[in-house]
Each structure stands twice: as structure tokens, then as C-alpha cells.
């Protein structure tokens, strides 16, 4: 696993370096895709941290991803207005001449970046606190997170909230004062995303191999035991939960400038569930697995969306069933060829 982890980091670094030194080898589409995939991989890592290591499955991580995405979109629109004077579409659509008060300050990048973290910590902290305090766990926790993201989607679909409603936000023209259509900007965004992904991977790796990481695993396997040994598991779970949420928000913050649009469909429960699918396919409980899963699944999806998009749901559901039934540890099983992975080839026996 350590070797695999090192290999993944090395490949990521190589791709970033390639984009930096020899951009002419890669088409702009490829560069942009690489950047988006890095953001998805970061999102998968964030979910793996909480699901693979802490055993808490969030089916609502799209919420934090969208917080980052919406905040950066607001920043880009405000920044665009300041530089080019372009009024955001949704303002024209709603017939508003002024931004709602909570849009104040968004032209500043540090404010937006800071707000992403603060807002995510506040939301995830509050939700995590009330859930973990009352020992809501397992499937209950998962479906409540799903309900949360669903409700958030309904809220954002409303046009009067001042976040673009149904159509979301798009038409980002400048970033850091530079034209977003400039290939240099898109390269920088891709490299930035990959570098941040690598940093997050290294950070998470340190965490999971540390004492705290072992406590997290212990908590997953037997929380009551850990408590009776004198550990406050609330703080432990809350900490890892909030860290995971922040990583997801950072992923959204990186993703939206590269894809150029955000709308409430990002908050659909299906999107959040797909994140779990990437992790399950890549291999839960291994950071490298999450990265591989996210890149592989989304790579196929990108490729297919140009050819036969209507096939994708069928392929995805087939993949999930295959992984869940035959490869409980995802592709990592394939790599190790555990005997269990091939169980489905043998006649099933009662357990």
C-alpha cells in the first residue's frame, strides 16, 4: 500500500510537472480535465477519510463541495464585475440592481477563501456535534446527511435566495485579474489543483498513520470500547468529520473555476452518492484507492459523456453492483487478488 501511495503521488507530481514544462504536449481540454479530475480526487479523499477510516458514511458530502463552489463562484462574479463591469446573469434575470447584503466582501479572494473554511467548519461542526453527541451513527447518519443535501438542493433551487437559483452562476470572466479564457490560467488552475491534492494526500497520510489515526480506526471498530478506555470519542469523530468537510469544500473551490458553472444540481443526492461510489470502486480505507477510483470513474464518464451519455447511469449502476458484490475493497482487491474477490466465480454457499 505504501508503494502504491508513493506511486500515485509520483504520477500526480509528474502530470503537474508535464503541464508546467511542456504544455504543448497536452490539449487544453486534457489540461482542464486533469484539473477537474484532481478536484474530484480530492473530494474522494475527503470522503475516504471519514468513511474508510472512521467508518462514517456521508451521503451528503456534496453539501461541503457546493459550499466551496458557491463561495468561489460568488468571488469570481464580484471580481469580474469589478474588473470588467459585467453584471452577473442572475441579477439581470431577477431584475436586481444591487447585490444582497451577504454578497459584501466577496471581491476579496482571501475573504472568499477564509469564508469557505469558516462556513464549512460551522456547518459540519454543528451537524457533526448534534449527530455524534446523540450517538447517531451507521445508516441513520448516512440517510440524514442525504436528507440534508437534498434539502439544501431544494433551497438553492429557489430563485429568491440570491444565489442564482435554478440557473446557478456562470459567466466567470476573470480570475486574479487575468482572463479566464487564457490557456495559461487554465494550466495554472490544473497545476494548483494537483499540487493541493498532493498536499492533502500527504497530510491525510500523516494523520492516518499517526496515533490519532489509530484512534480513529479503533473508534470505527468499537466505539464503546474506546470510550471505556477513557477516550472522548465525540471530539475525535468531530475533528475528522470537520477536516473531511473542509477538504471537500476546498475541492469545490478548485472545481468550479475550472468547470465554469455551478448550479444546485451539484447538491442532488445522486451526486453525493457518486462520490461514495468512486471511493468504493477505488478501495475504501486507502487514500490512493480513493484517488484512483475518482480518476478512473470520472475519466470514463468524461469520455462517455461525449459519445453516449445515456449509457452512463446503466454502466455506473452495474459497476456499483459488481464492486459491492465481488470486490468489497474495490480495485485494491483486484491488485491483491484476494481469494474473496473471486468468490463470485465459485458457487455461492450459505453463510
Amino acid at each position: 500500500m505504501t508503494r502504491l501511495f508513493a506511486a500515485v503521488v509520483a504520477v500526480l507530481a509528474a502530470v503537474a510537472a508535464l503541464i508546467a514544462v511542456a504544455p504543448e504536449l497536452l490539449s487544453p481540454y486534457l489540461v482542464n480535465s486533469a484539473g477537474q479530475l484532481a478536484a474530484f480526487a480530492l473530494l474522494a479523499v475527503s470522503l475516504d477519510l471519514i468513511w474508510g477510516y472512521a467508518g462514517i458514511l456521508s451521503l451528503g458530502h456534496g453539501l461541503y463541495f457546493a459550499i466551496g463552489g458557491y463561495v468561489v463562484a460568488m468571488h469570481l462574479l464580484k471580481h469580474g464585475l469589478a474588473v470588467t463591469g459585467r453584471v452577473p446573469d442572475f441579477m439581470q434575470f431577477m431584475g436586481w440592481s444591487e447585490f444582497p447584503f451577504y454578497w459584501a466582501g466577496f471581491e476579496s479572494f482571501p475573504y472568499a477563501a477564509g469564508l469557505t473554511v469558516v462556513l464549512t467548519l460551522a456547518m459540519s461542526g454543528l451537524f457533526g456535534f448534534v449527530s455524534f453527541r446523540s450517538r447517531v451513527g451507521g445508516v441513520y447518519f448516512s440517510i440524514i446527511t442525504q436528507a440534508l443535501v437534498y434539502v439544501a438542493m431544494l433551497l438553492m433551487f429557489r430563485n429568491d435566495t440570491g444565489f442564482g437559483g435554478n440557473n446557478g452562476m456562470t459567466g466567470f470572466s476573470v480570475i486574479f485579474g487575468r482572463d479566464m479564457a487564457d490557456p495559461f490560467v487554465s494550466r495554472m488552475l490544473a497545476i494548483g489543483s494537483i499540487v493541493i491534492l498532493i498536499a492533502a494526500l500527504l497530510l491525510c497520510r500523516r494523520l492516518v498513520t499517526s496515533r490519532v489515526g489509530r484512534l480513529v480506526v479503533a473508534c470505527r471498530d468499537d466505539e464503546a470500547r474506546l470510550r471505556s478506555l477513557g477516550y472522548g470519542t465525540l471530539r475525535l469523530k468531530l475533528g475528522i468529520w470537520c477536516l473531511s468537510a473542509v477538504l471537500a469544500a476546498v475541492a469545490g473551490f478548485l472545481y468550479v473555476p475550472q468547470v465554469g458553472i455551478i448550479n444546485p444540481r451539484l447538491l442532488s443526492p445522486d451526486v453525493s452518492l457518486e462520490i461514495a461510489v468512486w471511493v468504493a470502486i477505488g478501495g475504501r480505507g486507502a487514500l490512493s484507492g480513493a484517488v484512483i477510483g475518482a480518476i478512473l470513474v470520472n475519466g470514463v464518464k468524461f469520455w462517455l459523456s461525449a459519445r453516449a451519455p445515456e449509457l452512463w447511469p446503466f454502466i455506473l449502476s452495474g459497476l456499483v453492483v459488481l464492486v459491492v458484490m465481488a470486490f468489497p475493497n474495490g480495485l485494491l482487491d483486484l491488485g491483491r487478488l484476494r481469494p474473496r474477490a473471486l468468490k463470485f466465480l465459485r458457487p455461492a454457499r450459505g453463510t
Binding site: L57, S131, G138, V139, S142, I143, A147, S317, V320, V324
Partner: protein, 511 residues
């Protein structure tokens, strides 16, 4: 053709004038009608004044007379009838409508007449209305007549009669009654007569109260019908979760399949037995239940069975199934809403109070859920299968040790839960839009029902479904559907602070 016939009739009638039961002086009427304008007006008055005593024959005769006078086919003794003055024409038209109301054999003609009179109710003489009300047989028309009479009385110059009418209007509170009464407060009589004013004020408060009660009842009723759907979808979730610790994310799709199955049955009946097509809802019950239960059993055997020790993975697996089903239906049937017939038994309803109408379509859903509840309860409490389900829920290992085939129990329970969700789809088809994505509208609320109600007892599911159903309907008119969902979710999370295991916790050791 008609002309000579009428002529004969008029002559014949004149000959028979000595008939004893006849209170109408037909000769005099004919004479006036054939006379100058003032006399013609007198003819109309004679007919109307005589309405109360006139025989049925008289009315038929008079109706024909007026009709012929209007289309100038009346044959007068002295030749053709004179041209009606504009004023008389209007008066005769009203009289024609009144006589149609009294004497036309066809109820739709009578209803039409009443409608045309409705523009100036106070101009219709009380005698006409009284007689019409007394002899009318058609129930719908009778009700309309009573309402019409009340309306006519409201404008009556006789204050006592008016007061009684006001009181009668207040007896059936409705938004219309409220507007009518409110209009009376601008009437000169309201200002002039203290007694009348008191009557009107009292009536307004009574109507207001009635409307209020109606609103409350209507909200409760709508909430109950939503809760019915939730219950049918959630009871399966709860039983399965209790048994296997698995939440079936495809439950919403079973609702959808149930609705599509109902539609298929409807189409099939249209093609094969059009006479029975109107009964497609009851006919679909068994095939829909069996089909959805069958798919549920397949899902359990093929997938869920292998995952009940890995509940989080089972979330992913059942989600994949739901994704598959939604897209399959989308490819096969398209994304648009399905068109359902609305048979008479789910059409309309009975007005109770205020604007509250017990609509049959909602009652259908509620009754359906009540039956499912009774059936499920009986099954779980009073059959060997139910005992096995409860035993396995409490302690799977122990149940297996004493010889319960827990795998079979799982399978059947899964089938039962899916079948009930399918029936929810059937029950909601007269109420909600049916399309491939419809499942998502119910599924989050159903989950919350399971979280709130717990898995230990059916009572929990019923209470939680009612609570969440009512809350949705209660909040929606004020703050919108989204706010309703937000509030349901927040209350659920808060509730879990107090009772993490839901309303009814399973008794037993956790570790």
C-alpha cells in the same frame, strides 16, 4: 309543421276551458297575449301569479304559449300575434326560463334555465321557486335550487324573509357565502334596520367560524392523505431496516413502479376489456402488489442478502438499483407525466363545512393506507410469519437457533415491504404526478419517518408518518414546500437528540 299543430292546441285548450282542476284562465291569457303591449304584459303576470295553483298541464301549456309568443308562432284568434315590445320580450324570456324550470321534462334544460335566471335571482318570484323546489326530483338540481332560492331571498324586499335567508346562507359556510354576506353590509337596509344588521353580523361570524373549521379540517385531511402515502412507503423500510439493518434506497422507485404498473393495467384494460377499464384501480391492486413484491424478492435474493452485514455498502447497492430503475423507466416510457383516467369513484367529493371537501381521491389513498395498516398489523401480530419477523428483528442468531428460516423471513419481508411501496404508488396515482423521478419526492420523507418512528413497532411508523405528513401540509401554505422539508429535517435531527432510537426503541442490550 309546428305552427298548425300549435294552432290546434290553442283551439283545443280553449274548448276544454271548463276543466275543473285548471286554475289558469287559459282564454283570458290567450286573449291578453294576443292583445296590445300592456295586455301582453298582463298575460305574463297572469301566468306567474297562477303558478302556485296551476296544474302540471297548465304549466306545460303556458310554457308552449310563451315560447310561441317569443318566436312569433302564436296563432291568435284574430290572425298572427302582435310583435312583442322590447320590454315584454325581456319579461317573456324570463317567464320562459321560469316555466322551463317548472315544466321541462329534461333535467339539463331545467338546469340551463336556472342558470339563465341566476343573473337576477331577486327578480324571480318566490312562488316560482317554491313550486320548483317542491316538485324537483333531481338531487343536484334540488340543491342548486335551494341555494338559488336563498340567494333570491337575500335580495328580497321583505326584510323578514331576507333575515331568514341570511340565516340560511350562514348555515352552509363557504367562501361564496362570506362574499355574499359581506356585500350585504353595504346594503341600505343594513344601515337602516338594527335587527337586520344584527342578523347579518351574526351570520358573518358564523360563516367565518365555519370557514375556519373547514380550513383546519381540510389541512388535516390533506396531511392525512400525504401521511398515508408516507406510511405505505415507510412501513416497508422500517420492517426491512429492523430485520436486516438495511435501508433500501430504491424504495422510492418501488412507489414509481407501482404507479407505472397501475398505468399498465389501465392501458391493458382499455385494450382488452374496455367495459372494466373504469375499475382499473381496484383491479390493479393484486397485480401491482405481486409485481413489486416480486421485484423486491429478486432484489433481496440477488443483492441485499449478501450485504446485510455491511449496511453501508447496501446503501450503495440499493442506490445503484434505484439509478438503474429510474433510467430504465425513462428509456422505456419517456420522462413525461403519465395520463391516468379519473374514474367516477375518485372524482369530486362531498362538501362538509366551509371549503372543506372530502375528496374521493384522497379518501381513496387514506382508506387504502388504513387497509394496508390493518393488514400489516394482522400479519405481524397474528400469523406465524409475523412472529418470525418479530423474533428475527429482536435477535437474529437466537431466532436461527430455534429453527426460524431467517433467510426466508428476510426475503418475504423484503417482498412485503416492496409490495406495500408499490401499493403506495397505486394509491397516489389519482393524486400526484407520475413520472420516472417521482420516487425522490417521497423517499426523503419516508426515511425521516423511519428515523423518527424507529423499527420496534408499527405504531411508531404510523405516528411518525402522520406527524411528518401533517407538518409538511401545515407548513407548506405559509412558507412553501421547501421550508416544510427543512423544518421536517431539523425537527427530526432535534428529536434524535432526545431519543436516538426513535419513538419506540427496541428493548434489549446493545452490546
Amino acid at each position: 309543421m309546428i305552427r298548425p299543430l300549435l294552432l290546434c292546441l290553442v283551439v283545443l285548450c280553449a274548448v276544454l276551458r271548463a276543466q275543473p282542476a285548471t286554475a289558469l284562465d287559459r282564454d283570458a291569457v290567450v286573449a291578453s297575449a294576443c292583445g296590445p303591449a300592456t295586455a301582453a304584459a298582463e298575460a305574463g303576470r297572469m301566468i306567474i301569479d297562477g303558478v302556485a295553483q296551476a296544474s302540471a298541464d297548465d304549466l306545460v301549456w303556458a310554457r308552449q304559449l310563451i315560447a310561441s309568443a317569443l318566436d312569433r308562432s302564436l296563432a291568435c284568434p284574430g290572425g298572427a300575434a302582435p310583435l312583442l315590445s322590447l320590454r315584454n320580450r325581456a319579461a317573456f324570456e324570463t317567464i320562459a326560463a321560469e316555466l322551463t324550470l317548472l315544466a321541462a321534462p329534461d333535467p339539463t334544460a331545467r338546469a340551463g334555465a336556472l342558470k339563465s335566471l341566476g343573473r337576477r335571482p331577486e327578480l324571480v318570484p318566490a312562488g316560482v321557486l317554491d313550486r320548483a323546489a317542491a316538485q324537483e326530483q333531481d338531487t343536484a338540481l334540488k340543491a342548486a335550487l335551494a341555494e338559488f332560492a336563498a340567494l333570491a331571498d337575500l335580495g328580497s324586499p321583505d326584510l323578514a324573509r331576507r333575515g331568514r335567508a341570511v340565516a340560511r346562507v350562514a348555515d352552509t359556510p363557504s367562501t361564496r357565502a362570506a362574499t355574499q354576506l359581506a356585500a350585504l353590509t353595504n346594503d341600505p337596509a343594513y344601515r337602516a334596520d338594527a335587527g337586520f344588521r344584527a342578523t347579518v353580523d351574526d351570520a358573518i361570524t358564523r360563516v367565518g367560524r365555519g370557514l375556519m373549521i373547514g380550513r383546519v379540517l381540510a389541512t388535516l385531511y390533506n396531511g392525512a392523505s400525504f401521511a398515508s402515502i408516507l406510511f405505505m412507503s415507510a412501513v416497508g423500510l422500517a420492517v426491512i431496516f429492523g430485520l436486516m439493518g438495511v435501508i433500501n434506497l430504491a424504495q422510492g422507485e418501488f412507489i414509481m413502479i407501482g404507479a407505472y404498473g397501475t398505468w399498465l393495467v389501465q392501458q391493458g384494460l382499455h385494450a382488452a376489456a374496455p367495459g372494466l377499464a373504469v375499475w382499473y384501480l381496484p383491479i390493479a391492486v393484486i397485480p401491482v402488489f405481486l409485481a413489486t413484491a416480486g421485484i423486491g424478492v429478486l432484489l433481496e435474493v440477488g443483492l441485499v442478502r449478501h450485504l446485510y452485514r455491511r449496511p453501508l455498502m447496501s446503501l450503495l447497492a440499493t442506490w445503484a438499483v434505484s439509478l438503474f430503475l429510474v433510467n430504465l423507466v425513462r428509456v422505456v416510457f419517456g420522462t413525461q407525466n403519465l395520463q391516468f383516467d379519473t374514474p367516477f369513484y375518485v372524482q369530486g367529493g362531498i362538501a362538509v363545512i366551509g371549503d372543506f371537501i372530502i375528496t374521493w381521491n384522497r379518501l381513496f389513498a387514506i382508506g387504502f393506507a388504513a387497509l394496508s395498516l390493518a393488514g400489516t398489523w394482522a400479519l405481524l401480530r397474528h400469523t406465524p410469519f409475523g412472529l418470525s419477523v418479530r423474533a428475527t428483528t429482536q435477535n437474529r442468531e437466537m431466532a436461527a437457533c430455534i429453527g426460524i428460516a431467517t433467510r426466508q423471513v428476510d426475503m418475504l419481508a423484503f417482498g412485503l415491504g416492496s409490495g406495500l411501496a408499490g401499493l403506495a404508488g397505486l394509491a397516489l396515482s389519482p393524486l400526484y404526478n407520475v413520472n420516472p423521478q417521482m420516487g425522490t419526492n417521497f423517499v426523503v420523507d419516508s426515511f425521516m419517518v423511519v428515523v423518527l418512528g424507529g423499527v420496534a413497532a408499527l405504531e411508531g411508523t404510523v405516528l411518525a408518518a402522520l406527524g411528518i405528513g401533517q407538518l409538511n401540509v401545515l407548513v407548506e401554505p405559509f412558507y412553501g414546500a421547501v421550508a416544510a422539508k427543512v423544518i421536517v429535517l431539523l425537527l427530526t435531527i432535534m428529536f434524535l437528540q432526545w431519543r436516538p432510537e426513535g419513538l419506540f426503541a427496541l428493548q434489549g442490550r446493545r452490546r
